[in-house]
Subunit: 289 residues, 2 copies
């Protein structure tokens, strides 16, 4: 199967991410349909031209017409949806998703899937601190990273297809990681970052802080405005990796604390120099983009 | 003493912050002079119109002509400079500073100062991840907070003067805190944030991370590009408060870790809801500005 303008695409789940995918793909000339829980989401997406058509209930005939299905649901609803409705999917269709954890999803989906269907996992490293299709915009993909997470069960064609999809939507970098590598990476880069932001934000009542703060604290806590339902599910589905990354961070933080406690200027400065050097590498790589 | 267009201002220390003050005050019509370690800094500031004149060595006659002296030096050099040169300062001049810690500076300076001079501490909550006058810009004050830290030794006139100075330079909010309140606040809002960013950035080699990261990690580590000489000095000068704030953060972080470890969804979600609520208060207050 090849990604071309005849590929009919169904987005299942029309929230911030599903809506942003819909806009990116519709604007590229694809025929995009959607399934959502609420009729208002479909109406909004139709009115804004994000989709060509949509449904609120699993209409077998409707579902059966799509070549590519993209799931933008919470992990547990993704699995439930497939269990209930995969029998309606067109033979040989391709399935992908946006789920933020992989090991606990990818293997289960591939295990339960009809043998003529192929599922390949993907994770768009983009988002906003807002939920709902009303905030959807393809702009969030510009400059962002997109990760494809194939397993031994995936065909080279599907991997290639999924990567092209990432570039088509405007992502800056498209990479390939195993589900295991992905979960370690995301446990560190994204989930740990959210744990830090939340822990920092609950330390004190914020009312008095706002008149005294600089940009540092604002930047560190931007993601503290968190969707508790989604993130608690993602945390627990990647529990082992997340705990390992939290412990790694705590080890470094405790080391710095102890260096400060015993006035070890040289040790503090050494850690700061390493930090500066590693952060500068980010800037160099980003300037190249 | 009143702040008016005849107030002649000397900036001692012409780095990022001294240069930004110089620009803001020159643009407001004040006559601004500067003292710097390097002639190149003076030359650059003259060429860019940040100052009207400057010196590299403590010329008694030059120093003696200013009504207001603003110190933008590292804490220990601030104290050394005053010890060596305060005898040249004009009688009844006012002194302020930009130092990021207060208790360990303010009382020492007020203790050692000539009885006809008055020193009032201030802390501009603004900055960049860059050092040197070449990066100076008054733009960093726009929307930022400015904190004045008077003690019982300060006159109402000096407090008023210092607040006006903050508004004059374009700060958005000017507040008053005791040196003790300031150090607790800044230990939490700024120093702890820097400790977190540094600890996070040194956890792993960054080369592989850049292709997978989202904005969360980038935002959390922006300040990890840290000036090790300045920040290690600031950390140790506020050691007691900083350690208390680090311990507070570690307590919340450990609580979240333990909630995740025992799959306590409700406890995780409760912390996230509090975090979201407290972060939203920031946005509300900032929209009002």
């Amino acid at each position: 199967m090849e990604l071309n303008k005849n590929t009919k695409i169904l987005i299942v789940g029309l929230g911030l991410m599903g809506g942003s995918y819909a806009q990116a793909l519709t604007d590229k000339g694809f025929e995009v349909g959607a399934m959502a829980r609420r009729q208002e989401s479909i109406d909004y997406a139709l009115e804004k031209g994000l989709i060509s058509h949509g449904r609120c209930t699993p209409d077998p005939e409707y579902i059966g017409q799509f070549d590519l299905l993209i799931f933008a649901l919470y992990p547990h609803t993704f699995l439930e949806w497939l269990r209930d409705n995969q029998r309606y999917i067109k033979p040989n269709a391709l399935i992908t998703d946006v789920t933020g954890v992989k090991c606990s999803v990818v293997y289960k989906v591939q295990e339960m899937l009809r043998s003529d269907l192929e599922y390949i996992g993907a994770h768009p490293m983009a988002g906003r601190e807002l939920s709902g299709v009303e905030y959807a915009t393809k702009e969030i993909f510009s400059g962002a990273n997109y990760i494809v997470t194939p397993t031994a069960k995936n065909t080279p064609e599907a991997i290639d297809f999924c990567k092209k999809l990432g570039y088509e939507m405007g992502f800056n970098t498209v990479s390939e990681l195993s589900p295991e590598e992905h979960d370690e990476m995301i446990g560190f880069l994204s989930q740990l970052a959210h744990c830090i932001a939340v822990s920092l934000m609950v330390c004190k009542d914020s009312r008095r802080l706002v008149d005294y703060t600089g940009d540092s604290f604002r930047d560190l806590t931007r993601i503290a405005k968190i969707n508790d339902l989604m993130w608690s599910e993602l945390f627990l589905l990647n529990k082992e990796q997340l705990l390992a990354q939290m412990d790694l961070f705590m080890e470094k933080f405790t080391q710095l604390r102890d260096d400060i406690a015993r006035d070890d200027t040289e040790a503090i400065r050494e850690m700061m120099r390493l930090s500066k050097q590693r952060r500068e590498y980010f800037d160099i790589k980003e300037e190249k983009k």
